[in-house]
């Protein structure tokens, strides 16, 4: 792969990742957010393939395929299924106003760019330069987890967080060893499935999936 194409693909995939993350924070529709998750997963798979092929790793198509299947197909499908069973397509309640949420998202993205610089030091290879995108995804995922009121959106935030970590992992070091990568993917998949089941059971139990209404347990 020529250097120009490599740079272009790197820029494109990370660009799509960041855009989809910001759009997820922006939007209120659960179904659309799940759609964006598909986009994000596809971009992540593209990133894995780009970095892997550039580094000349033989296992790159395999890992990319795995990421594509798990993150862009299976997880969104499972979440969509939970959302359909529950019948919630739009978020009803949020803990903060949309404007504050967006400003927070902007501030977090800036923070991601600000902290990534010192951590990465003076390394100048283009993949490392794109690491702030991964950090933004992590922070925006956390932001979603914090401010959103619905179980499904919390789940989406968790997946964004996970995608961000995967992005950082592939950008800084071309991914961990295959065993760890497989195990981690499987773990996250299982967590998503479990949370999907729990969300459905929460809905069956109390008729809504409002996390801020969960006040049974407190001190």
């Amino acid at each position: 792969m020529s250097n120009g194409v490599y740079l272009q693909l790197l820029a494109t995939t990370t660009g799509v990742l960041l855009l989809s993350a910001v759009l997820q924070v922006w939007g209120r529709s659960t179904v659309r957010a799940i759609g964006l998750l598909v986009l994000q997963g596809t971009a992540l798979a593209g990133l894995v393939l780009t970095v892997g092929v550039h580094a000349g790793e033989a296992a790159a198509p395999l890992v990319a395929g795995l990421v594509l299947v798990v993150k862009a197909l299976v997880m969104p499908w499972a979440m969509l299924r939970s959302a359909r069973v529950i019948g919630v397509t739009r978020e009803r309640s949020a803990r903060v106003k949309p404007a504050i949420e967006l400003i927070g998202a902007a501030a977090l993205t800036l923070l991601a760019y600000a902290v990534s610089g010192p951590i990465l030091g003076d390394r100048t290879d283009p993949a490392t330069q794109a690491v702030p995108v991964g950090v933004s995804l992590v922070l925006l995922g956390f932001w979603q987890l914090l401010v959103r009121g619905s179980a499904i959106t919390e789940l989406i935030g968790f997946l964004m967080l996970d995608n961000g970590i995967a992005t950082i992992s592939f950008l800084t070091s071309g991914g961990l060893s295959l065993v760890v990568e497989l195990g981690a993917t499987l773990d996250v998949l299982l967590v998503v499935l479990i949370l999907g089941v729990l969300a459905v059971r929460l809905h069956a139990e109390q008729g809504h999936i409002d996390i801020s209404e969960l006040r049974e347990l407190h001190d």
């Binding site: 990370t14 660009g15 960041l18 855009l19 759009l23 400003i103 993205t109 794109a130």
Partner: protein, 315 residues
């Protein structure tokens, strides 16, 4: 060089005036076909325009010259916009820079002219439309500035022609994070600025929802014709700007005839496709409640802001 630049500007103006009714016609027809109607045909806006321009305007007794001046001002500002934005070629006059800040200023001039017209018409609808229009304008202008500014950072200049040239020279910059965010923000604000769905429905006359139509409700005849053409030109100019920033291929780098010809064909194709796509999307979305519009625009502002910071920090 000056001669070339003047030629390009003339081509821009002629092309914009000829193309904008066709663009509107394509958009309306697309929409009509998707909704299962036959529609007025692609040339219908042309016929409307010819009919309107031939008619005497009626103005309320006691109205001020604003009613006469505003359509002309809108028309003039739109024409300047079309002249400044690089449609066909990146050759630009050195004395009149197609600068980002100039373009936004001219854009605002037209907005203010329209708002004044709405206020002057003396009916409740006009004032309502004007106030809504200004609210949206106040939210839109900073985003337009910011998003194009983000694109200007890598180019190192705020002249639109130079930005387009730089993006054409470096295709890798087209899809990087900063650029994607900026283009997305720009699309949202262009939709808001030109009064398309989901911010304003261009084909409604429902008093609670209309914005653009409320302002020009009292105008008629020649005045209405100029107002319509001015708005269409604005739409053409802004869509052309988005098209050439997002996909700069095909634009000429000089004033050579062949290049210009290719440029004309390219921008025509891009505009019509973009217009058709916009109209197709509009079929599937509903108008936002007015109170939700600031949320939408705040979102696009955040995107533009992020894109500026991203373009400074990385890439």
């Amino acid at each position: 060089m000056t001669i070339g630049a003047v030629t390009v500007i003339v081509i821009h103006l002629v092309l914009a005036v000829l193309l904008s009714p066709v663009l509107i016609g394509v958009m309306r027809t697309t929409r009509a076909r998707l909704e299962g109607r036959v529609g007025g045909g692609i040339r219908q806006p042309w016929r409307d325009l010819r009919k309107l321009l031939a008619k005497q305007p009626t103005r309320a007794p006691g109205s001020t010259p604003v009613l006469t001046l505003a359509p002309i001002l809108l028309m003039a500002s739109s024409l300047v916009l079309c002249a400044l934005i690089p449609f066909v070629s990146t050759v630009a006059l050195t004395s009149v820079p197609g600068d980002l800040f100039v373009v936004v200023g001219v854009l605002l001039l037209g907005t203010v002219a329209l708002a004044l017209l709405g206020l002057e018409s003396g009916t409740a609808f006009g004032g309502m439309g004007s106030s809504r229009h200004m609210v949206i304008a106040a939210l839109v202008e900073p985003t337009v500035l910011l998003s194009i500014y983000a694109l200007s950072v890598p180019a190192g200049t705020s002249a639109l022609a130079a930005i387009v040239r730089a993006r054409l020279a470096d295709p890798a910059s087209l899809l990087n994070p900063a650029s994607l965010l900026a283009i997305f923000a720009l699309v949202v604000v262009v939709i808001a600025e030109t009064g398309r769905l989901p911010v304003d429905n261009p084909s409604t006359h429902l008093e609670l929802t209309m914005i653009h139509e409320a302002m020009i409700l009292e105008s008629g005849g020649r005045d209405l014709g100029w107002l319509e053409l001015g708005s269409w030109l604005r739409l053409t100019a802004l869509l052309g700007l988005v098209a050439n920033l997002a996909l700069p291929w095909g634009i000429a780098q000089d004033a050579a005839p062949l290049g210009l010809l290719v440029g004309v064909a390219a921008i025509t194709g891009k505009l019509l496709l973009l217009g058709a796509a916009l109209a197709a999307v509009e079929v599937f979305i509903a108008k936002l409640r007015l109170f939700r519009v600031p949320e939408l625009l705040a979102g696009s502002f955040v995107l533009a802001f992020l894109s500026v910071s991203a373009s400074y920090l990385v890439f």
